[in-house]
Amino acid sequence: MAQQALAAAIELGLLTDNAKAQIVSRRGFLLEGPLSADQVRQLSAQLLAEPVVHQFEFGQVGDSRFTNVDAAAITLYVLPKAGVTDPEAESATMAIREMGFAIEQARTFRKFTLVDVDSATSQKIANRVLCNESIEEIVWGPLHLEQLAFGAKYNFRETRIPLLNASDETLQQISREGQLSLTLVEMQTIQRHFQTLGRDPSDIELETIAQTWSEHCSHKTLAGMVTYDDGSQRREFKNLLKETIFAATQNIRRELGANDWCVSVFKDNAGIVKFTDEYNVTFKVETHNRPSAIEPYGGANTGLGGVIRDTMGTGLGAKPVCSTDVFCFASHDRDFDSLPPGVLHPLRIIKGVVAGVRDYGNRMGIPTVNGAVCFDDRYLGNPMVFCGNVGLIPHKLSFKHAQPNDLIVVIGGRTGRDGIHGATFSSVELTEKSEKVSSGAVQIGNAIVEKMVLDVMLAARDRGLYNAVTDCGAGGFSSAVGEMGEEIGAEVWLERAPLKYAGLSHTEIWISEAQERMVFAVPEKHWAEFESLCRSESVEATAIGRFVPTHQLTLKYNDQVVGELSMEFLHGGRPPVKRSATYRVNPPKPFDASRIAPERFGEILHKILAAPNVASKHWIIRQYDHEVLAGSVIKPLVGVNNDGPSDAAVVRPLLDSERGISLSCGMNPLFGDLDPYHMAASSIDEAIRNSVAVGADPQRIGILDNFCWGFTDRPETLGSLVRAAIACQETAEVFQTPFISGKDSLNNEFSYTDGNGTRQTISIPCTLLISAIGQVPEVSRAVTMDLKKANNLLFAVGVTGAHLGGSHATLVLDQHGMGQVPTVNAPRAKSIFAALHRAINDGLVRSCHDLSEGGLSACVAEMAFAGGLGATIDASLLPVEANESLTAFARLFSESNSRFLCEVEPQNRDKFLELFPANTAAKIGSVTESSQVKITDGAATLINESLAALKLSWQKTFDWK
């Protein structure tokens, strides 16, 4: 830990490499209870430390050995803030009791001693490396503590909000000061509703409405009314999502008729599609951006934990089988002094986010098999963290229906102040003050609690002990109970919810977003068995209410009604959001490649391979358990040395079946800078082609959308989103690839005041993640991207055009924005995908890799160094768009869609070629024994680079120790 802290301080420029500075680190426990010195010695030696590798010391708080601090050094303690989840302290308490010792409480801390560091630098290291003040506190010098316990009895107090006669100005003030994120029109609607009831709302009622109507929970912008105008067409959407993304799926399902393989889409916590005769698979991808900006570890941790609970809350509870994680960050090598105030250094965000995903996924034992990382400095204040999870569920358990008089039962973690206002917080813009004011919205997960909940949930499900389940996510109980009881009505007994500590008000209990909780509808007759099953595995289960057929949501605290809302108003009363959207198409700016001498092509290829979006992510991948559950078929890194980049992951989720699923993604914000329409179409094409490349059946691929955009109240920002949504519909319908679920995150902007006192805003680029789940009929036919054998032939599949706009070649040449952005010829792409799948299924393809960032040149390089074999390519043989004459530069670096490079054994040449439509596939080269990648244009050599050098360029960017 100390070495890592020192390295991080140097990395961030807080210390110089050759300084004498040292950081000494110790971990420790504060134990409260009637323990003797001998007992503490025994606990230290046998439980808390391991004498083979640790030294330990102990004493009472205030002991002179701890207070006489070395004058030459600076000592500080870092402790989790009161009320922040401290799982290790909870485990220590349990274990100490197991050993037969009396203990009341424990708390963990870390102690750091900084030697040869001046006090100003110490402050910076403490704040930026050693501690995150949103969840931890620093105590400088000796530690003095009276007691660990905190929390005081809650004295019930009912608060009414004077709304009935409030002016518009007051309404806005109430929303702002209560962190409700409700607009004036919404506040007016609520005011009118309570005027008809003739009373003011209580705070808990107003909070419930704010949670339910939040952007995060109700997607009011995307599901709202939009007037769109792009100069050539004007469209009025009553519900943007329904008329684009959902419409595509409905149209596809109608066309498929009896062959429809969608089961439940855009309804439940995840989309559900058919998999085998017995099982369906579920898929959901969530964003967890804002918490990750403030506390990267906790944000990513609970991001993955949350989406796993989405799987668990789908149907009657699906079993999570694998995860995917995609991140967007600012450049990691940024100068510290150039950071706007309130922003964490990107390197700290990257390391924290990766560790957060790693610790949650690995501990739950769910393999993280797929992912991507995208770098762009516009993510500086708003990093993007997308967490996805796939589940498996029997057909007959894929739907749920809570019944009147079922008990409302919560199991798992206890409720604390964690994450209060997470749902409304994720709907507002971040500022430099967010780090301070929003810390309540940051949560730390405890994966083991969620794993325990999963274990008992699956057992209870298979015994038929409940009628419905959902997760406690954004909005906590208010959203979970509100949703489950929407059609029935519910009565909730708030004082019964188990609490982490005393002092929570009834409103805090209702909206807390404490992690690892699931809510069930349990018939009275099964309650005893359900509770005893949970207890047998040390999981706490509590009935906190009942679904009652009143169509009302009734909230009680110690038998007193504290809130009463009609389900109809809660779920149907929100006034529609009306927005206008504009878009102006910019004609492409010509990119003149003829001035770039062919002698530079090799150097450009090296730069593309080293570019952070392309470079090897082994530093991340190797920290994830991608093989637990024993279903791994195609791993994220493949090839002769297990280190080449896979197009997609393939997983066999049933131990006794040969049927697999593929997971892949497509995302390219650089294309979005030129045209969001073609970005969206390209992302769909990329996600599908990555799955097809490993052997997935293109007729059985489902996709998910995650729109992350800037401030969509601005018509031009919303316009770019609408344009992308239209592309999603049009492209998906041609491919017959249905959207099965989706999630958006809007208003991703960061505002701050710069050194000159000017207000600055950074908006993220248009960011659309398309995630694909495919099906591989028989996993032993799957294909990897590494070259297999010398003298095999290399075929270009797909058609190349002059698509350099948004390409990595223009990026590394500082020409981003120039050139024509890649477009998708969807009908042609569809026939190419079908032909390639046939070829793979017939066993004709030895290796296959899609062409994406860096085009043909990067694709050949990656296949070659992954396989440890050379390749010779003649780029003049590429199939190109009719009537287009392409420069050599475009042949090498164009990023046209729907293209692959395939390795085929010589005897299968004709069989392979005859599967493809005319002019969409051609032999362009072969695999060689040499250790060179050689690309020519006819007789002229364009690139001739060694495998070792290419691989080094690709690996060195993130070869972090």
Partner: protein
């Protein structure tokens, strides 16, 4: 006895139990699961099994140190029964987290007044690491490694580095024939975590209690191999030997 009964023990945070039970069944055993809470209430249930397996995972989140809390629970209620397994001609297997538990309960070597003479601790790179490793058996009587010449299996752990108090401890474990498995192939070390002497697995002196960091249950199907698309589908993936040897012991 033809078909041994295998107990795959579950605890909060165990996560490799299903595939481990599957691997035993594939080898011909009859596998069932029990939760540690139930077993602690009724330790006599152990009498109904010929093999006890501690599977991989993060028992109790690996809080304090990997396997520490589950080891404490096993020590306090189950140790006596489990320590008699070798003399009763019964077997114990610990995989990854299960190996950490075996080491920290004292079923592989005992503690003295200074605590345990060796342990499994943080990898030298300080990180959880998932990769494949080449393995060779050491000079032990380990039942699970009978006739095994080499194996290729994945590791996935943060705390797998074997560390001993001193040279004398290493010498003693060696002379007792406890160095069961090493990260090694064709004359070169393939050590992923900095383990002393490339140790990947240890057994008790009888060879009937065995723990290893790599995951044999993750290499029982041919498509689990990271290079099956290059090297072809194996007829007998390497991990199966461990489970088959356990079953064969009772034949």
């Amino acid at each position: 006895m033809a078909q041994p009964r295998v107990l795959v023990l579950r605890s909060p945070g165990t996560n490799c139990d299903a595939e481990t039970a599957y691997a035993f069944e594939m080898a011909g055993a009859r596998a069932s699961h029990l939760h540690i809470n139930e077993l602690r209430e009724r330790p006599e249930l152990l009498d109904g099994f010929e093999v006890v397996c501690f599977p991989g995972g993060f028992s109790y989140g690996d809080d304090l140190s990997a396997g520490q809390i589950l080891a404490l629970q096993v020590k306090s209620r189950l140790f006596d029964r489990l320590s008699q397994f070798p003399e009763q001609d019964k077997l114990i297997l610990g995989i990854c987290n299960g190996f950490q538990v075996l080491v920290k309960t004292g079923l592989i070597f005992s503690a003295d007044d200074q605590g345990f003479p060796a342990t499994l601790t943080w990898n030298t790179n300080g990180r959880y690491t998932d990769r494949w490793v080449r393995l060779v058996p050491g000079n032990s009587e380990c039942v699970f490694l009978k006739d095994v010449e080499q194996m290729y299996l994945p590791i996935a752990h943060g705390e797998g580095r074997f560390v001993a108090r001193n040279e004398a401890t290493l010498a003693e474990l060696n002379s007792e024939g406890q160095f069961a498995l090493r990260y090694f192939s064709n004359g070169t070390s393939d050590n992923p975590n900095g383990s002393a002497l490339d140790i990947a697995g240890l057994c008790d002196p009888s060879g009937r209690i065995f723990g290893l960091m790599p995951h044999p249950e993750r290499h029982i199907h041919p498509t689990q191999h990271p290079r099956w698309t290059r090297e072809g589908l194996s007829e007998r993936p390497d991990g199966r030997a461990i489970f088959e040897n356990a079953v064969a012991f009772f034949a």
